[in-house]
Symmetry: C2
């Protein structure tokens, strides 16, 4: 694995490459995706059928073929291995408990002059969850997207997932059963996003669309943003690790590889203050690589997009990591919590030697849908707020408007809005 | 003003027209705006200079001409009328107090097995506020956008506003002074949005862009979404009023007009359970219209996009209003608070006869930047969260990973991710 040093003469250039890791250019697919969306808007289910025949290679004979029944989900659930069932339930319970702590409350507050100000929090009516299918059909994605919507109190949850050759992952179905999903459709890609954004004869129009996907899905989400809300536009997965001399190179190596195995485009970066840890980790990466089922993917990711950076001290290491703003950040030092105040940007932060990133993918509780490509500088992990919206509450008493009305009308006057001013002043007439 | 009844044979059609009120089609301007953005990305300040010469009709001789100095802001503040100054300070203080109540805290929570889970809340590094200029230069827009960013703790706030003919609104400058704005630029339209999203030689790249604007600004915000975060995509202003027989038709009329005077595209809809209130309000609208400085705009808005709907009861009225999901909702009934639980979608809710909507535009405290065109179904008012982002915190103890590690690894196994599973199992080795 490539080791670079912040004192290298070409470090700045190397680091720029790391920062540019995930500049996915959506322009190339924008025209195609716009077309797909237009077709769905125009023809609804008719377009979906064409897209499924073309991309997923099966024929939809009637609209009801698009639906996945709750019986199918229940059966899949009943058929899975007991140990796995238990693991899914542990995951479900822990994810739910964590997200319940995120739930904000409506509030009101009172002023002496009798005015009441507040904020009403309510769930969106309908949420659409996009879950990738085929070889990348992850039941954990379903849990991580459905549970915040459930906790938020969304009344109608719609799931779309592609089913290449009309085959569907049984574990995904089992996860749907655990989450109590009532409406799920065998539709994927940009078609699914468009269908949920605009509605078709079969698929309801939703208010919010969340979930991971390839560049076509990401582009479609961006294009329908405004018609519906979306969670974020995410790219390939990534990990950043901060480590010092106390860290175990075997742990560091396998954690780097756990991101690398996702995708050739995934990026695994460690910044360490210890030369020796850098060197040993690199050796361990090579060793572990041999044992992985997805070694080709992991190797290409590590070779093309992986790096170990040796920093002169932890302050420099943190500064660089904040610039990277990684999706996942592991702090593998013997004072992990003490560094937390200095961490400005990261999707999820894993502290200490017993917290490998995959713990967060499945079972810890926090969401695994996280901002990538430095967007942790402004996006948050998927959370209950993605399925909520707020309304301001304002109630003025006669005393309050008597006290504040003229100041308000004056501001309206200066903006040249006479009806605004008048609407206040008619309330001041005695 | 047009009065329709839910029992009219063509009501459904009429109501569909109301719902379709604000379908602004951005496709028409998408190509133009994409071009503007590309020019800014490629040429930076050079492109800004060209755009200013073309649209704002003045010549930027050097980069520093783009900047508005803090001295200029201070001077403008010192020159304004004392009463107006006081009003601006009242508004500033009340808006700040309200938004401080929105500020979420970082939190952590502990489990018996020694694991620690939490959520770190932090401000974005840089926020960009877009404030429309020229005749629509509203100091209140500056307060409403800057204060949530200030309360969130954003370190660097950048303001962009167009200055047609190199003229700038003195009140806007005064508001900048009150908010302690340090960086402001005389750049407008899609150029400003692109400059803040990508950065130029003079204008810093920001993390979040908020603020109102015309269709070019709205389209640019949509196109840069993902490169930065944005607040929402907003269209023309609108009001919905629920009223019963207890409501004062004069109040209702002037409140409807206070939206109508914004824009010919603005929409003012009242749904009432009382025929007589409908009729009297319509008469009062005509009377007040004569007195308004912006009567041409208001009249066109009322004629083309205004309506009074007579509903058979309050339940039906509320159902229709939830479908409209208005930006501003006034509840002018004698039991306003009791209706609040049934209100599902609205940007801001104004309760009772003493709470005209303009109170919320200037001085009540809640934000006046609100979702329009039914997007209150999924967007929230501008608030401090727009300037914050969250990071999940996860720390597992040896006991926690011993307890949960195998369930986690099993889920990774089923997803075919062997490095994920291994990264957990190496921690279980004794």
């Amino acid at each position: 694995m490539k080791i670079i040093n912040t004192t290298d003469s070409n470090f700045k250039e190397e680091f720029e490459n790391i920062l540019a890791r995930a500049k996915t250019d959506i322009k190339g697919v924008s025209a195609i995706v716009t077309n797909i969306i237009d077709e769905i808007v125009e023809k609804g289910n008719g377009a979906i059928k064409e897209h499924i025949l073309k991309f997923d290679k099966w024929e939809v004979k009637q609209d009801s073929d698009l639906e996945i029944s709750v019986e199918q989900m229940k059966k899949a659930y009943e058929n899975i291995d007991e140990k796995l069932k238990k693991s899914l339930h542990i995951a479900y319970d822990r994810i739910k408990t964590y997200h319940e702590k995120q739930l904000p409350k409506s509030w009101i507050d009172f002023e002496k002059n009798g005015s009441i100000l507040g904020q009403k929090v309510s769930a969106v009516d309908r949420a659409g969850l996009y879950i990738p299918g085929g070889k990348a059909a992850y039941p954990s994605s379903l849990l991580m997207n459905a549970i915040p919507a459930i906790v938020a109190g969304v009344e109608e949850i719609v799931v779309c997932t592609p089913t290449p050759n009309d085959e569907i992952n049984e574990l995904l179905l089992a996860a749907c059963h655990i989450c109590g999903i009532k409406k799920a459709f065998k539709v994927g890609g940009a078609s699914a996003i468009a269908a949920m954004a605009y509605g078709t004869q079969t698929i309801p129009k939703v208010d919010v669309i969340t979930g991971p996907g390839n560049i076509f899905v990401a582009t479609a989400k961006k294009l329908v943003f405004g018609e519906v809300n979306i969670d974020m536009i995410a790219g390939p997965s990534e990990i950043g690790i901060l480590s010092d001399a106390s860290a175990n190179p075997r742990f560091l190596a396998i954690d780097l590889l756990s991101q690398a195995e996702h995708d050739e485009m995934a990026s695994s970066i460690m910044i360490t203050t210890c030369d020796k840890v850098a060197e040993l980790t690199s050796i361990e990466v090579d060793r572990f690589l041999e044992t992985l089922s997805r070694r080709e993917i992991a190797k290409k990711s590590i070779d093309d997009r992986g790096a170990i950076i040796i920093a002169s001290d932890m302050q420099e290491a943190i500064k660089l990591m904040n610039e990277i703003a990684p999706e996942h950040l592991e702090i593998m030092t013997n004072n992990a919590f003490e560094l937390l105040p200095k961490i400005k940007h990261a999707g999820a932060i894993f502290l200490g030697k017993n917290t490998p990133e995959p713990i967060g993918d499945y079972i810890a509780g926090p969401n695994h849908t996280l901002p990538t490509g430095s967007t942790a500088k402004f996006y948050s992990p998927l959370n209950v707020e993605n399925f909520l919206k707020k309304s301001s509450i304002i109630s003025f008493s006669q005393e309050a408007i008597d006290e504040l009305g003229e100041a308000c009308a004056l501001l309206a006057d200066t903006e040249g809005l006479t009806a605004h001013a008048k609407s206040v002043r008619v309330r001041l007439e005695k």
